[in-house]
């Protein structure tokens, strides 16, 4: 395991009162690759995500992020907004969290908050309408436009995010996360609730992000067709511990994984087994 890891999770544990949600979990996410974290419901995947993105403080263990320039950051020591601002880790949510009363474009503008705050001279330059601010604002709108185009929502830029169809909201949330220009993008069940066509579009989007932006991606997913299609590496969790890890093919044939899914949920187990054929 001498691979170039952007994210290394070591001996991570998270307890809520007496419940151990994550127990001594270690895994890594490779740079410029797509890593999937899978497992039956209640396996502790979202808890791991919340630890990585600063919403929970892990009980013990370390989460290390290594940037391209070799600079490392211990994520468990940063809290909430600094994870995104300083460590450049962006995330999406299982139950979409867009700003529903703001337009799609505004959502993408909010994502560029920190860059724009600097450009607006902490508001002062912006208030007097300085030319440098105008340039920065225009660049931000252009970046947002580019992303809207990539997710196929350019014609809905001025519609309220809350009015968009479900699948579009999912893609918009990913675009919003990308507008923070992250090094690591964490997606919490991005394909949940999508139909087959939308899932395919999602896979395409994620592959193009990896190819064009070089962003490393960590995702939790239930939709095995998406996982098998796009993941470079799969980590399987059950009851808070890692039970298997490897390439999609390797994981799919692992009897422990099949057992975990069979034990948890028949449908999911069948999905795992069928998705390879």
């Amino acid at each position: 395991m001498s691979a170039d890891h952007i994210l290394s999770v070591d001996h991570l544990s998270m307890r809520f009162g007496g419940i151990v949600a994550v127990n001594d979990l270690s895994f890594g996410a490779e740079r410029h690759k797509i890593t999937a974290l899978i497992g039956p419901n209640g396996a502790g995947k979202t808890t791991v995500f919340n630890c990585i993105t600063g919403f929970y403080k892990p009980t013990s263990g370390s989460i290390r992020l290594t940037h391209d320039d070799g600079h490392t950051i211990q994520l468990e020591r940063l809290n909430d907004f600094r994870i995104s601002k300083q460590a450049k880790v962006a995330r999406t949510f299982q139950n979409i969290r867009l700003f529903p009363g703001m337009t799609a474009l505004e959502n993408l503008m909010v994502a560029q908050h920190n860059a724009l705050m600097r450009a607006s001279g902490l508001t002062l330059l912006g208030l007097i309408g300085a030319p440098s601010w105008r340039v920065a604002e225009k660049a931000a709108i252009d970046l947002a436009r580019t992303w809207l185009e990539r997710i196929g929502l350019l014609d809905r830029a001025d519609d309220a995010a809350g009015n968009l169809p479900y699948g579009d909201q999912r893609r918009l949330e990913i675009a919003r996360a990308m507008c923070t220009e992250p090094a690591l993008l964490c997606l919490d069940e991005p394909a949940a609730g999508l139909n087959a066509r939308e899932s395919a579009a999602l896979s395409e989007l994620l592959l193009s992000i990896r190819a064009n932006q070089g962003t490393s991606i960590l995702l939790i997913e239930h939709d095995m067709s998406v996982v098998m299609e796009i993941s470079d590496h799969v980590v399987v969790m059950d009851y808070g511990v890692k039970i298997a890890e490897g390439t999609p093919q390797h994981v799919r044939d692992d009897p422990r994984v099949i057992a975990a899914y069979l034990g948890a949920d028949e449908e999911e187990a069948i999905a795992v087994m069928e998705s390879g054929t």
Partner: protein, 305 residues
């Protein structure tokens, strides 16, 4: 030491009154999730109704004090409960599933309505009543001539509070209504699917809260010998502080919080300054909310991501 003991007694009595009002806040907050801003004014209305009933009974020539007290208690509880019901019906029910700020403003509006309704109906001046229950016990006579007293009215306030609290705890823990109330507190949609009449349960919550506030109003009248139309505002905020201090949603917490606020206020007035006693109460509210937002006996809230 004697002085302190006396203040302790006074504080506990005042705290019982706050506790009775606080229960109304805590119940409503637990079920509907809103601060019933008009609850302090319901307490004030309870005081007025007790006063008027008392005057009428006395003018009819009734002299048996226990009978008078019983009638006054029942009448003020009944009528004030109807006020609570009406307030919920008019100002809160139409806004139950509305936008969060609307019921809050509606409640503030209702509080203004009740305050000024009393002022218009009964005049702005303070209404004094002669002491109704007199006498008491001397607990301890200090060397310096300072006497620690426990008056009969103080005994009555504390006993009434304890009895009502017991009754109320029984109501919530062992009756159908109490079970419905707890169910609505957890999940209104699920409760209604399981056949709980949510509207009725919420109405009953307001009715019970108002009835307890009426008792507090009557105790206030007996203890301080006066009522006025503005007394609901400050008493309401302090009782709300008590509810928060005890842990909002928790009934024993409301009572405990009430006692603590009563004690703090009395001791502060006795040892520091009377002028700043309300500042002390409000400061406690702020400190508690910042450092102990779930209160002493409340359940912690976990942020869902």
């Amino acid at each position: 030491m004697d002085y302190f003991a006396q203040q302790l007694i006074n504080g506990l009595v005042l705290g019982s009154i706050y506790g009775l009002i606080a229960i109304g806040y805590t119940m409503v907050y637990g079920i509907v999730g809103m601060i019933n801003f008009a609850h302090g004014d319901i307490f004030m209305i309870g005081g007025f109704i007790a006063l008027i009933t008392f005057l009428i009974l006395v003018s009819f020539g009734l002299t048996a004090i226990p009978l008078i007290l019983l009638v006054v208690l029942l009448v003020s509880m009944a009528i004030t409960a109807l006020y609570g019901w009406t307030v919920e019906r008019i100002a809160y029910r139409p806004l139950r599933h509305s936008f969060r700020l609307a019921p809050m403003l509606s409640a503030i509006g209702m509080s203004f309505v009740l305050t000024n309704y009393s002022q218009v109906a009964q005049g702005a001046r303070v209404k004094p009543v002669p002491p109704i229950i007199t006498g008491g016990y001397t607990l301890h006579e200090g060397a310096g001539g300072f006497v620690v007293q426990l008056s009969n009215i103080q005994i009555i306030v504390v006993i009434t509070t304890v009895v009502l609290l017991a009754l109320f705890t029984w109501l919530v823990s062992s009756t159908r209504l109490g079970r419905d109330m707890r169910a609505c507190e957890q999940d209104q949609t699920m409760a209604s699917l399981l056949g709980v009449d949510v509207d009725r349960t919420i109405s009953m919550t307001f009715v019970i809260g108002a009835a307890l506030a009426a008792v507090a109003g009557m105790m206030y009248l007996l203890y301080y010998g006066l009522v006025d139309f503005f007394m609901g505002f400050v008493a309401g905020i302090k009782a709300f502080t008590a509810a928060v201090l005890g842990g909002i949603g928790s009934l024993p917490g409301a009572m405990l919080g009430g006692l603590l606020i009563g004690l703090i206020e009395t001791l502060w007035s006795a040892y520091f300054s009377v002028e700043y006693k309300d500042v002390a109460a409000f400061s406690i509210l702020i400190v508690v909310l910042i450092f102990l937002p779930t209160g002493l006996l409340g359940r912690p809230e976990v942020e869902k991501v």
